[in-house]
């Protein structure tokens, strides 16, 4: 296998295995208690973990609430939109 082919294969493998991020952004309307409840329901997080992410969203403007394989990340983004949170699917730089 040529060096170029190996490099291409490594890139493809890296792209396939790099986790995708589910990111939630702050908005001024959703209540803090509501956002915490959504994180608990969607991800099954314990209250403390859900509140940590909620506070990150509130104070830093965004929080990576979950990372992992793309299909599951897409599912979580859809769930979060169902609860009207501002959520996006993002690939780490």
């Amino acid at each position: 296998m040529s060096d170029i082919a190996v490099e291409k294969e490594i890139k493809e493998l890296t792209a396939a295995t790099t986790p995708w991020n589910v990111v939630v952004y702050n908005d001024p309307v959703n209540l803090m208690g509501y956002v915490t409840m959504v994180f608990q329901k969607v991800f099954g997080y314990a209250r403390a973990r859900a509140e940590k992410h909620m506070m990150e969203v509130h104070q830093q403007g965004r929080s990576i609430v979950w990372s992992g394989e793309r299909e599951r990340a897409e599912f979580y983004v859809q769930q979060l939109h169902g609860y009207l949170l501002l959520a996006t699917l993002e690939k780490p730089e």
Binding site: V29, L31, G33, H81, G82, T88
Partner: protein
């Protein structure tokens, strides 16, 4: 307004006619039609840069979200239609609304949806929302702010019932 759990229902009790009318506005207030900002808020972007995922989203997910949002407001509308009139011993008229336990999540979603649509339509910012109740109701915007505050109380009370 008093919100309490009664067996398998959540009861919204001691409602005066004004509060009831504001609750009756939930379904219509949650409707974003005719306001681009409100529609954009309910159907926000699923990725920062539009790509293949967004195309699939528009085709398959957005209709599902529309159905989900509509279904929640229809549930609320149905429950509101069964509001009971109560005549307390001390006189006057109060209203009682019984929300089945299985409908509480739909109420949470619809009330939050209404808050987001109202805020988008009136372009409320953090300062507006954190500024408390308006001193007096002199404009549709004051009324909208009062409506959001009442929905805040209702939403937080319902969330407690979901815990």
């Amino acid at each position: 307004m008093l919100i309490r759990r009664l067996k398998d229902h959540v009861v919204i009790d001691q409602l005066d006619i004004f509060s009831l009318e504001i609750l009756r506005l939930i379904p219509v207030s949650a409707n974003p039609e005719g306001c681009r900002e409100a529609e954009d808020r309910l159907y926000s972007r699923p990725e920062l840069v539009e790509g293949e995922f967004t195309e699939d989203w528009e085709a398959y997910v957005k209709p599902e979200l529309h159905h989900l949002f509509q279904s929640a407001t229809e549930t609320v509308e149905t429950d509101l239609n069964s509001t009971q009139e109560i005549v307390p011993d001390e006189g006057g008229i109060e209203y009682r609304l019984k929300v089945p336990g299985t409908h509480v999540e739909a109420w949470v979603n619809a009330v939050n949806q209404a808050r987001l649509v109202i805020a988008a339509k009136h372009r409320f910012n953090s300062a507006d929302l954190e500024g408390g109740l308006p001193d007096s109701i002199e404009s549709p915007r004051d009324m909208a702010l009062l409506q959001i505050h009442l929905y805040d109380f209702l939403l937080l009370s319902l969330l407690q019932e979901l815990e």
